[in-house]
Symmetry: C4
Subunit: 275 residues, 4 copies
């Protein structure tokens, strides 16, 4: 059944470079009840994606989802095979001038000697395998980490985190790809592809002893997903100590929430940050 | 016995739109010992309720009780069948201009195209069933969430949280009303009424996998109740790991504390917020 | 053996109103090794005690030891049977103008209509029974609360919290004094005296479902004691989950640390607060 | 086997006073994969070490790794037998003017009446036994403390904390050196040497009921190590509650990460601090 949704998603979002389609992709992500009016986003463009990407960097740092080593990217609007990512900087410090373009092999289009993130293959290989994905967040949130090393299933327990799904989030272990003598980092296309395949059609993949990678149909929803993945982890770890929690069922995880209310609130908290 | 208090409360606060009565309602909430001088509140009015509502939004965001998706409302002073609520915004950003009036069916009196909160039926149906209630807080505090999914009784463990009561707080599960294929949100009067009935004559109702709804006889006490519900959750979850805690007994939960000392302290921390 | 130390303390600090003696009292608190140079404090006076009291209010709020309902007091320098305490305000908001004098029966010397803390008998009765005590902190720190309701022994586990002692901190239950129908607050001299007796010659007494009361030979050390009581609680509760922790032994708890380094650091963080 | 690595480290970093060598030492710390470009540091000098030391004080306070009683030091560039350390101040308040030079016996070269840290022997004896070490952090982070008192092995669980190693971090108990009647502080060369020997060739040594001491080949990496020791503790303590975690293997702990990205992000957060 998962495979089926996977195929559907692939088709539904194949034209992710077209504005309307990009946000239809969000709608196709799951069935939204008529009662909730959909978010109204600014018109999609390369500039808008970069603006949201810079804000997402600041938000994710401010919300303690990303430490200095995390990163967030967006698929290029002009060239959907490419993606946009900051040069090698702590997310809190990223400005629009730091945003660089990377090609389908995760190589910088115009490096000019700038340092780049070593883990960019995480992003590039997910964009290759998941045309519906328009934004990717990769980080090491401490609340999530215990679920990456213990085999305890990580599932949607709270309604805000419906996107995690009712089946356990997949856990990627680099040792399975590169053997015991590995660097704990995804540093090449091969490992990036293995991670992307482990993610499959899901929104969250955990990485053993390392962190999480979270995707979304636009920067704002990927940001939301990353924030509430962390909240779900905090709640689940406490609930597990009390007893056997009741998780969201397979219908409840199909809901779609609004994004802009949270985005606006979080963005307001970082509005003093550099741009 | 609970039913009896419920009836008493209904009578005692039926004239909640009259200033004196509104604060008598607070006194009737439980028996205050003579030794504690009651709070002195500013004269009640529509304007004062709106001013407190805006401050409550800022406080509850600042105290991490409400995330961007929570909301707080107050019964209208002019028309006690109506209530006042912000348009669809993150609580930290709410200003007096955002406050809208909603009728007894939770519909906006004068929408003028403004977006409204989808979960407003939580508030409207509680105001209908509980005339003693003058303010309602609804949120998703992570500390409280484990108690919504595990069946572990949530009771008053610390004196500040006496209002939770010595019997377990009721837990509402939307699945019981709308079946497994539900949105995890209270989006219509029917579910709102079911939630209000689950709350009964209590001050706190938990919502499975979703959060909590907390009420009070005025905005300040509802705010206090929401803050200390969260503190009680934090303490109870740790205490349960140590052993079997001694909860407040049925007399101890009848106490009434002062509100303004905390309100003034919290309000001072958000005094720079927009209005 | 405890009784013996108790008597010694009583004698050693009987002249607590004399500057030199007040700080000798600190020395007598326990045997300081020669290697650690003692703190140099500003000359003792009523004004200095008030200045430190105001700063202590701000520090204890800033360090999350006191919520809006906590309070800190100091014995009067001019009249050692009296003590100084803010009027009824959240600690973060206290200024020198709020400081009032209370007599040996915890009644305000010059009330002039000002609201006072209801729990002032906690302070007054401790000052009566413990001449060595020059400052008292009373609060409801969430980290400490689980130890007040579970019977799990709370002891010095980290060197900074040596003052807690190697025997379990006493736990006061108001129900033992006033019966089941009590207010959870110490509102009269009788309950205050019972609490002071439960404290005995110790530095920390826990209060069931309520909080903690912490004492010291001056405002700065009482502040330090309150902060590190909370840290000890946080560490002990986590350590207990891992296994059986090794607590400080009866010699190790006799150490005396420096205070001013922490005081200066904490004070710097609140230097923008009102005075 | 540990002894062997220990000897190698000694040789590799014997010329730690030479700029190039100091940073070669970092390279020799473990084998860095070719894919990760090494950090580019400013030219080494006494002034640069002091500047980094002041920033490290502010960062470690801001990141809650050091409370007012922690300290961080750096080996002198001009005289590698000496080290540089602030006078007795809370780390958040340290300025370049507070930095003093200490000789190979941990005595101040030019005290001029200034108060010094009593625990400076921790630093001095580690610099004596570990020529590869250029910076030392000593603190009392609450997240780490439970591992110091329970015997539960503390090991690298997350990739950022690889430097902790795949074997349990050693735990130093002052009682083993000074007997039960000890001060819980390392106050003399004998105890300092015992601690340094317990550290051996590792990067982290825990201290029973007291805290941790963390080393690095330069100030920035020691700062990074201290921050992520704390994160590893937070993750491990939660993971242990879920089940048996999978720790990093002996190869994975050999990795070398970049430092400057985190350093720049942390430094930006304290850029308003006094200098």
């Amino acid at each position: 059944m998962e495979r089926k949704r996977y195929s559907i998603n692939r088709r539904a979002s194949f034209g992710a470079s077209v504005v309307a389609m990009a946000f239809t992709a969000a709608g196709a992500w799951a069935q939204a009840p008529a009662a909730i009016p959909p978010d109204v986003f600014p018109a999609d463009s390369e500039e808008q994606r970069i603006a949201d990407l810079v804000t997402a960097n600041h938000i994710l740092a401010d919300q303690n989802v990303l430490d200095s080593y995390g990163h967030v990217t967006v698929r290029s609007f002009k060239n959907p095979k490419h993606f946009l990512m900051s040069g090698n900087r702590a997310p809190a410090l990223v400005t629009a001038d730091d945003i660089m373009e990377f090609d389908e092999n995760s190589m910088p289009v115009d490096q000019r000697g700038r340092r780049v993130y070593n883990e960019r293959f995480i992003h590039g290989e997910i964009y290759r395998l998941r045309p519906d994905v328009v934004a990717v967040v990769h980080g090491h949130a401490p609340d999530v980490l215990p679920f990456t090393v213990t085999g305890v299933p990580f599932k949607a327990l709270i309604h805000m985190a419906h996107f995690i799904g009712s089946e356990p989030a997949p856990v990627f272990d680099l040792e399975d790809v590169e053997g015991p003598n590995n660097n704990m980092l995804v540093l090449n296309p091969k490992s990036g592809e293995a991670l992307a395949k482990k993610l499959g059609d899901r929104n969250v993949v955990l990485m053993r002893g390392h962190g999480m990678t979270v995707v979304g149909p636009n920067v704002r929803r990927a940001t939301y997903n990353a924030v509430y993945t962390q909240v779900n982890a905090r709640v689940e770890i406490e609930a597990l100590k009390l007893g056997q929690p009741k998780f969201l069922n397979k219908f409840e995880v199909q809901r779609v929430g609004q994004i802009n209310r949270a985005w606006d609130g979080w963005a307001d908290q970082v509005k003093g940050a550099r741009r």
